[in-house]
């Protein structure tokens, strides 16, 4: 969509919308300006099935150790996150990531560099 007066591309991002129904919000593309909280929330959503016992998943959770997820499932989750946030995380970078916080920071760093 372009501005009829100037021909300039108008940016319409989800964070400008007022969304009253959370179910609809989930079907929208993630906002262009994802906050750290958005990223962590999305990671935790992917990791929820692998929660070990009652221990909550937090930023300091060590993904491969504190959860019941195996290395292949971690790589598959990374692939999903790559598409959610439109970044690519090379495998050697994934190998250096241990905690939820580190994963979130990596995604945010890559987004900032785009």
């Amino acid at each position: 969509m372009s501005d009829p007066g100037t021909g300039e591309q108008l940016l319409r991002t989800a964070h400008q919308l007022i969304v009253e129904n959370d179910d609809i919000a989930n079907t929208l593309e993630l906002p262009r300006l994802a906050s750290r909280l958005d990223v962590i929330r999305e990671i935790c959503r992917h990791l929820a099935p692998y929660q070990a016992g009652e221990r909550p998943i937090v930023g300091a959770t060590v993904i491969a150790k504190d959860l019941t997820i195996d290395s292949l499932a971690i790589m598959d989750m990374v692939m999903e996150l790559e598409d959610s946030f439109d970044v690519s995380i090379p495998m050697n970078v994934v190998a250096e990531i241990h905690t939820v916080d580190q994963l979130a920071d990596t995604i945010l760093d890559l987004r900032a560099k785009r």
Binding site: L72, D76, M79, S88, P90, M91
Partner: protein, 409 residues
């Protein structure tokens, strides 16, 4: 900490497997009788898990060629081609494979694993970008560990997933190399190669296709998925193996790139291992002639695939997504897969069992590989046996699940 402590988890899982009474990872074939039969545990067993797609391991002409080569040139080369030189037959084999594909260059390796490992890890380096299918073979993953290139996985058989990753690279410098397989070894499914090639062209990426399981099986003349998809000229590198359809061992890579031969002095898995022995080279050369001279073997293979796949599907088994020389039968979990596998072995049928982490998406499979030499009777028998076991174990939906309950039912 002991050297083996890091494997504690795996040791425990492996112990679970072995307590079922037979170890699927240490099967001993007491005597191999033919491409389709062997003596295992003292009884004649039907082989449906050997990747022997054309049944050429016992082809008389291939066997004779190997025996003659041993008499003429001995049992082994005792060194690498870089250090000890090539035998004429190594060079002839390379010329024949190049001619088969209509490509200018071919390099032969001692195994298919070494072909992927060496070629992929050497083609890309620091600053380059390697993009691999998520379900790639271990040899491809191992190559990724050996290269300084940045490696990114895309979703299995999903050209749009590859495209988004190529797009994200933007104007970053460095070559892009995309790795695909003709037929995937666990579920027997083929890559949508034409669509992948279109994406690669759009982003200027090189394409390498591993035809390990599709050589002979796909394409009008057996050259694999590159041929059947009509993209032979668009695939920059084709890798394959001698250990499946060609019935021996070894690997190869063909290409039209004018500088291809520099790989002979850069690929370490080629330079620092002994070259193929004369007998293998001779039987492979003959097997390649058989593949070209007897297209009926390909038809027999696909007829047999249809018999097994459709037969199992009709009984309600959950299978891989399409007909393929590998038929993967999904089972609900690891222990059930191993129990099913063992029941089949007890009934005189050998297949492979594939469990996580060797399988995509954590699935547990019975992996069956079909041979042109299987008779329809052998395959019908197998379907009957699997159906019986499937019902006993409650795997087949619709079949009554056995329950240990007292009552008036």
């Amino acid at each position: 900490m002991g050297l083996f402590d890091r494997h504690a988890g795996l040791l425990e899982a492996y112990r679970d497997v072995r307590t079922t009474g037979a170890d699927p990872f240490q099967i001993r074939m007491e005597r191999v009788l033919s491409p389709t039969e062997a003596i295992i545990n003292g009884r004649k067993t039907l082989l449906v898990g050997t990747n022997n797609y054309f049944g050429l391991t016992f082809d008389p002409s291939c066997m004779e060629a190997a025996i003659e080569a041993i008499r003429a040139e001995g049992t082994g080369t005792t060194g690498s081609r870089i250090a000890n030189g090539s035998y004429s037959e190594h060079v002839l084999l390379e010329e024949e494979i190049a001619a088969f594909y209509g490509k200018k260059h071919c390099m032969v390796f001692t195994t298919g694993y070494q072909a992927n490992l060496g070629v992929i890890s050497t083609l890309v380096g620091q600053g380059d970008h390697l993009l691999i299918d998520a379900d790639s073979h271990a040899s491809i993953y191992d190559a990724c560990k050996m290269t300084q290139a940045e490696v990114v996985r895309f979703k299995h058989n999903d050209p749009s997933s590859l495209e988004s990753r190529l797009r994200r690279l933007g104007d970053k410098s460095g070559n892009r190399l995309v790795i695909l397989e003709g037929i995937y070894s666990m579920l027997g499914d083929s890559a949508p190669l034409r669509e992948f090639v279109d994406v690669c062209k759009k982003y200027g990426a090189y394409v390498l296709v591993d035809e390990a399981h599709s050589l002979g099986a796909l394409g009008e003349t057996g050259r694999g998925l590159c041929e059947s998809a009509g993209v032979l000229d668009d695939c920059h590198f084709i890798v394959g193996t001698f250990s499946k359809t060609l019935g021996a061992i070894g690997g190869y890579c063909v290409s039209n790139d004018p500088d291809f031969d520099i790989l002979r002095v850069t690929v370490r898995s080629y330079m620092f291992t002994a070259s193929l022995p004369p007998s293998i080279v001779a039987s492979v050369r003959q097997a390649l002639r058989v593949v070209q001279a007897r297209p009926e073997l390909r038809k027999q293979l696909w007829d047999n695939v249809a018999t097994l796949y459709d037969g199992l599907a009709a009984q309600g088994f959950k299978l891989g997504p399409e007909h393929g020389p590998v038929v993967g039968v999904h089972l609900p979990d690891r222990m059930l897969a191993i129990g099913f596998w063992r029941a089949m072995l007890d009934a005189g049928i050998y297949v492979n069992v594939a469990v996580p982490p060797a399988t995509p998406n954590g699935v547990s499979l019975l992996r069956c590989s079909v041979c042109a030499a299987h008779t329809p009777e052998q395959l019908q028998h197998m379907i009957e046996v699997m159906t019986g076991i499937g019902r006993q174990l409650g795997v087949l939906s619709g079949a009554p699940k056995l329950r240990v309950v007292a009552g008036s039912r």
